[in-house]
């Protein structure tokens, strides 16, 4: 377990290093606001695709390896946060995530062929089946928010993984907080 964890940390740091390397001549990333801020931007670079000139500039781009989207606003590229965190046993969309969610909503409304899968997750406490239901409730809450902004329900699929796919292994509130989440997966 310990070794696995260390290996994960190493992997994450290596990835971060590589990304920093790629993005060194770009503008500096937003700071990592941590899981409780309802917004995470770890390990992201502002990716300006090489073919930008031949692609329609306003169209959101999907990164097929991370399933995140990059939007273009007045020529500035911004990869949207794909993870939103929740409080224990709660499925309330945090206010701190609204700004980022609104950007997702605009992207989905501007490009009606975009499809997103909202993947709901729970921490390890409690029973597995109940946590599946809880994960779904969280993803539904995000969907309701997006639909209220004008996104078509047909663009959104909701899936719950319950406690089966944690973002981080381990017990304790700091790990649990990162596992209670909804992830955006574009396709």
């Amino acid at each position: 377990m310990g070794i696995t964890k260390i290996r994960n940390i190493l992997a994450v740091s290596l990835t971060a290093l590589l990304l920093v390397g790629c993005a060194s001549d770009e503008t500096v990333d937003e700071t990592d606001m941590g899981p409780d801020s309802g917004s995470m931007t770890t390990g992201e670079e502002n990716m300006a695709p090489a073919e930008e000139t031949i692609v329609q500039p306003k169209k959101p781009m999907i990164d097929s390896s991370t399933n995140r989207i990059t939007i273009f606003d007045l020529g500035d590229a911004e990869t949207l946060t794909g993870v939103f965190y929740f409080d224990f046993d709660q499925a309330i969309v945090k206010r701190s995530g609204h700004v980022e969610l609104d950007k997702h909503a605009s992207a989905l409304m501007s490009e009606r062929t975009l499809r997103v899968r909202l993947e709901g997750h729970a921490d390890e406490r409690g029973t597995r089946e109940y946590n599946l239901a809880l994960g779904e409730r969280r993803a539904n809450a995000i969907r309701a928010y997006l639909v209220a902004q004008g996104v078509s329900r047909s663009q959104i699929e909701v899936i719950s993984y319950g406690e089966e796919k944690p973002e981080v292994m381990g017990t304790g509130e700091s790990n649990w907080a990162r596992n209670r989440r909804v992830e955006f997966s574009y396709r």
Binding site: R7, E124, T127, A133, V158, S160, E164, K165, M169
Partner: protein, 447 residues
């Protein structure tokens, strides 16, 4: 764990044993070890005297070792090591009682094996040292690759004779393992003998597997797998033919399948109509009936032993609690009131109690609710306990817990007197389901 008058810690790695039996080539799965963490205070002292083989050649399995291990892991017996035996009788006529009184042994398990062509006959006796009398004497017959089943049969007979409770050594346990890191997990659905041996993998996947449950005949299992496009679906696998059928493919949750006691219906949780509700599928006609309608979470259906009602978890009252509902009128009744989290209930075979996951002071334990007296008793001392499953003899339950950051299985007797852990050498183990049936039943060939 806690200090007990009798604190036994048995750690037996049976790798050598596992290698000595005829292992099918595709089985490269790590076995579960068993560590007895608490035995009864007044364990019965038994000697399992090495069984001899009356013909030439070695048999592929040491039957005596399996029986000895079974009896030890039950927590109710203390077995005498072979090295301390003063004589090695194979039947009661060869017994000198003083040899056993000296080492304070109360009962002897004696026997020998005879090969007859492809078959092996096992002669065994249970001998009472103090009364100097034979309590059981049987002969059973099986093939050479059924030696382990024959050993478990002997353990079952001895256990029942000495405790009055049906043995569960011939049963199996199904469970899920997860290994790897957060990015690449491998999930396996395994079935092993109740002593952790003969592990076979039913399904391996890089996507989650959960909620595995047995059909009442022990020949089929239902489970949820996310293998198809990372979406959940319920499958039924026939363990005899190997055939598999996808049962559901609805949008949203496809969760918590549970066979009815007659095996004809499957209760499940679907959220296709908005929120998670309980549905019952008739397996022959494929007719799906929705039986709960509530905007809250309804999940974890379990049938009452008579097949007439379903107990389930619901947060309709604000927090998860256990409710019951007769299928005839769907009148819902709340069963649990103690604590703010009660979930995943199953009913004892006599209907007298519920086993469930119960949270008290923030810690998740397995608890039993006495339905007649309304009293709740916490059975486990570990934390993050979940997925309790009752043995078919009703005397033990197995559950999932965590130890040193790893998911392991543990078992406890319903009276709390016996406890043991089943750590696996590989990955996290979870969601145990005790088989309803014996793997193999023998009929004695002569008195």
């Amino acid at each position: 764990m806690v200090s007990m008058r009798l604190y036994k810690r048995v750690r037996v790695s049976l790798v050598a044993l596992l290698l000595s039996i005829l292992v099918p080539i595709n089985v490269a799965v790590a076995e579960l070890r068993i560590e007895v963490t608490k035995g009864v205070d007044d364990a019965v002292r038994v000697a399992v005297v090495p069984f001899s083989h009356k013909n030439r050649g070695r048999l592929p399995l040491d039957i005596t070792e399996v029986i000895d291990f079974d009896l030890t892991l039950s927590g109710r017996f203390e077995t005498l090591p072979t090295s301390q035996m003063l004589s090695l009788p194979n039947d009661s006529t060869e017994v000198f009682s003083r040899d056993w009184r000296l080492v304070k042994v109360e009962y002897l398990v004696l026997g020998y094996l005879e090969s007859r062509g492809d078959k092996v006959q096992l002669h065994f006796e249970l001998y009472n040292v103090f009364k100097q009398s034979v309590e059981v004497k049987q002969v059973i017959e099986g093939s050479r690759d059924e030696l382990r089943d024959m050993a478990h049969y002997v353990s079952d007979v001895v256990f029942e004779q000495l405790t009055g409770i049906q043995g569960a050594f011939s049963t199996q346990i199904m469970y899920v393992t997860a290994s790897g890191d957060v990015n690449v997990q491998e999930y396996r659905l395994n079935i092993a003998d109740a002593d952790g041996q003969r592990v076979r993998t039913i399904l391996a996947s890089n996507e989650p597997i959960l909620s595995a449950s047995w059909a009442p005949d022990g020949k089929k299992v239902a489970y949820v797998s996310f293998e198809r496009d990372r979406r959940p679906a319920i499958y039924i696998k026939n363990l005899v033919t190997g055939a598999r059928q996808q049962i559901t493919d609805y949008p949203g949750l496809n969760s918590a399948p549970a066979f009815s006691p007659d095996g004809k219906q499957l209760a499940m949780v679907l959220s296709k109509d908005g929120s998670p509700d309980i549905y019952v599928l008739d397996l022959a006609s494929r007719k799906l009936r929705r039986i709960t309608r509530h905007y809250g979470i309804d999940t974890e259906p379990a049938w009452t032993p008579d097949g007439k009602s379903i107990v389930f978890t619901s947060d309709r009252g604000g927090k998860p609690q256990i409710y019951s509902m007769p299928l005839v009128n769907l009148k819902i009744e709340r069963l649990t009131f103690e604590g703010d989290y009660n979930a995943k209930a199953s009913m004892l075979a006599d209907g007298s109690g519920l086993i469930m996951v119960h949270r008290s002071e923030g810690v998740f334990h397995i608890a039993m609710l006495d339905l007649n007296r309304g009293r709740l008793r916490v059975l486990t001392e570990t934390s993050l306990d979940e997925s309790p499953s009752i043995a078919p003899n009703g005397s033990m339950l197995i559950y999932a817990t965590q130890k040193r950051g790893e998911g392991i299985l543990a078992a406890v007797s319903i009276d709390g007197g016996v406890k043991f852990d089943l750590p696996s050498s590989e990955g996290n183990v979870r969601e145990p389901a005790w088989s309803p049936m014996k793997r193999k039943v023998f009929t004695p060939v002569e008195g």
